[in-house]
Assembly symmetry: C2
Homo-oligomer: 419 residues x 2
């Protein structure tokens, strides 16, 4: 039997878009790993009646997970609403209050001029828990809760992801959750990724597979376009593994020229693996440091990223990447010639094996009829091997910059992958 | 009377966390501007019964907005589910089919080897609309819909934000929506931002205001911590403006040293305004290009950002920013001395008026007892003025890098703000 779960993300600041929700997606992945089907994620303001109606809506689920609303401020009221939903009174857990106080005392050292009464009141509020709930020890200052109800089991977690994520692990070890999850058969998720192909083409492929008898009945397949890449995510039970393998092989053979990931790895992971034991430097114009930032996102990247230059002005291109002024004069700053000179300048200057040059027009201004906004020239070079490319990217400034970064990674992958 | 609205974001890829939802937050802001209260945003997979139950849950609202599920693939079924919910049959809109075909014909030029039948089928599916619905012209290839139902008015919009956002404007001009929204009194939202203060301190301030009689009954106040900044967002009706002004003045006087925005402006906007007419260059180590990328996020930033260098290795710090090797030897790469040399090197090399140097330990490795992970040194310099700072930032590598970028912007603001 497949368990059904719902997620309730509370917070006026999330509902209103001031901050982006990271917990819904993260919990969704964890549930999938456990073979639990997520039906809805509901984002709701800190209004008790709206939080309650979300719980009521999900009362047919086996498990409801809430995030947020456990903080010290008056609008943090998830514990109370869940207690009402469960028909349980709130009680002060004095031992918990003392443990939270210890945490707060350590934190106080970091701030000046704090109001002690305010801290004591916050402390006490966070130690009020529904009768009969299992308390999950605070990671920050807020405890989590596992609350049995006449309907679903409700797991109450704090909003900050760095508190919620470790507490999830703690929750899985509680007796009530282990009992609920026992007997679940885990589902498997596999992802393949393609680059340089429209989504409608994949839709056509799936329709063709149906009519030519490629078995897909045991597979739940989702396609989506993301940063210029297509992701095909498939969820299935372990018994359907051979059906999935046949499906994945059919995709790979039909789209051999555009598939770049058959094992779920991202382009970032692939490029990082290809760069291991080598060195790279970049010279960026329109992406303004985004490629360097993306390459150095990964811990350990200092082993292969020697550095980069952000060269917005023509002058900076000449001074920092040795692009001849005459070359810019002759071909324009946005040209494959200049991209090539940037890549060569970057690798020469940093003494790196591999160089990347990016120059383009991200907008909103700067476009011409011949080179409209979205025109971006790339060059990636390693030893004598080199790929130059000019593309016209759709979208606004943010999108052009982001896609340019992705294109550069794909060109690097192509250059560095052994033939 | 305040209208209530709900948002249904469809898409297995959104529910599963493969892509982040941007439409819920964006629509939420639009609704607030119109004085419509948003009760819930529900994220749901492309399962017709789950989309339907979300619509049923929101049937007490005056307006429901859906995003996504209008694409060419078989799992895109929002139009059909909304038609069922409304009790309306689907019909083929042949004129619309032809207009979509024209759009697709233009797009086809961009791709090779497309399957014509697949495109025709996708075309026809997207031209099926519920009887009696108002069609909103496609921005991409998918039309939007305004569908009257026995309950709420349902506005059906496509998933890609660059299609949804312009189509929202079109929708507002339709007769049905104008009629629904007539007579709404717009709410006002104001945001103040503080930096360098814990959230519990603000909670204490709000409690004190309550006990000392600062009137807040007509204000809906939300506080939230975001990238190391506190945002206090307040929503109120125009009549309560003087109450808000008194509240905002009380916050500003109590937290004069940490408040940096009283008009909702972001630190990025403020720094951009302060940089107008000047020039800046940056030298980054642990942030790996993120400060340069953030400064160049804004259109027109090429007027003041001359460039930057990403100098991970000690060698690169010396070669690209003239940091003396002996200085690194004496104080370590992560030191205020090196940060200062980076800032000076950056401005000297690029010929910029203002220089920024950042060097730190983002993790996961590299920390020592004396300089643990999260230790970051900054220097910002303009003419003879200069601020140096060392901070210990909490969190993981991603958080340390992001917070470091924010700290650098705040130091720039402090340096550049006239006394």
């Amino acid at each position: 039997m497949t368990l059904r779960a719902g997620i309730v993300v509370t917070g006026t600041e999330v509902l209103s878009g001031i901050i982006a929700d990271k917990n819904g997606p993260w919990l969704s992945e964890r549930l999938r790993e456990l073979g639990v089907q997520l039906s809805h994620t509901i984002v709701v303001a800190d209004r008790p009646e709206d939080v309650r109606s979300a719980l009521d809506f999900l009362s047919g689920c086996d498990l409801v997970i809430t995030s947020g609303g456990l903080g010290p401020t008056a609008d943090d009221l998830t514990a109370q609403v869940v207690a009402d939903f469960a028909g349980r009174a709130m009680r002060l857990d004095e031992a918990l209050e003392e443990r939270i106080w210890q945490i707060l005392s350590r934190l106080r050292a970091r701030w000046r001029n704090l109001d002690e009464d305010a801290i004591r009141a916050a402390n006490r509020k966070q130690a009020l828990v529904p009768e009969g709930a299992t308390v999950l020890e605070p990671v920050g200052t807020a405890p989590g809760l596992v609350v049995p109800t006449p309907g679903p089991l409700v797991l109450v977690l704090p909003g900050p992801p760095r508190e919620l994520q470790p507490m999830w692990e703690t929750a899985l070890r509680t007796e009530v959750l282990r009992e609920l999850l026992s007997g679940q058969s885990a589902y498997v998720q596999r992802i393949v990724r393609l680059f340089g192909i429209p989504e409608s083409e994949i839709a056509g492929t799936l329709r063709d597979f149906e009519s030519t008898g490629v078995a897909m009945d045991a597979l739940e397949i989702t396609t989506c376009m993301r940063r210029g890449e297509i992701e095909i995510a498939t969820v299935f039970q372990p018994e359907a593994a051979s059906q999935y393998d046949a499906f994945a092989a059919a995709i790979a053979s039909r789209h051999a020229d555009t598939i770049f990931s058959r094992d779920g790895s991202t382009i970032d992971e692939q490029v990082a693996a290809l760069l291991a034991g080598r060195t790279i430097a970049v010279a960026e114009s329109c992406t303004g440091g985004m490629l360097a930032a993306r390459l150095t996102d990964r811990s350990g990247s200092s082993d292969y990223v020697l550095g980069g230059v952000v060269v917005y002005s023509n002058d900076a291109k000449t001074v920092f990447a040795d692009v001849p002024a005459a070359l810019i004069e002759a071909h324009g700053a946005v040209s494959e010639e200049v991209a090539r000179a940037l890549a060569d300048g970057a690798r020469a200057r940093f003494g790196a094996e591999i160089g990347v040059g990016i120059t383009g027009i991200a907008g909103t201004g700067g476009g011409t009829e011949e080179k409209p906004v979205g025109t971006v020239c790339f060059s990636v070079a390693a030893g004598d091997a080199r790929i130059d490319r000019t593309v016209l990217l759709p979208g606004d400034r943010v999108m052009v910059r982001e896609r340019s970064t992705t294109v550069a990674l794909h060109l690097l992958r192509r250059l560095l992958t052994p033939a």
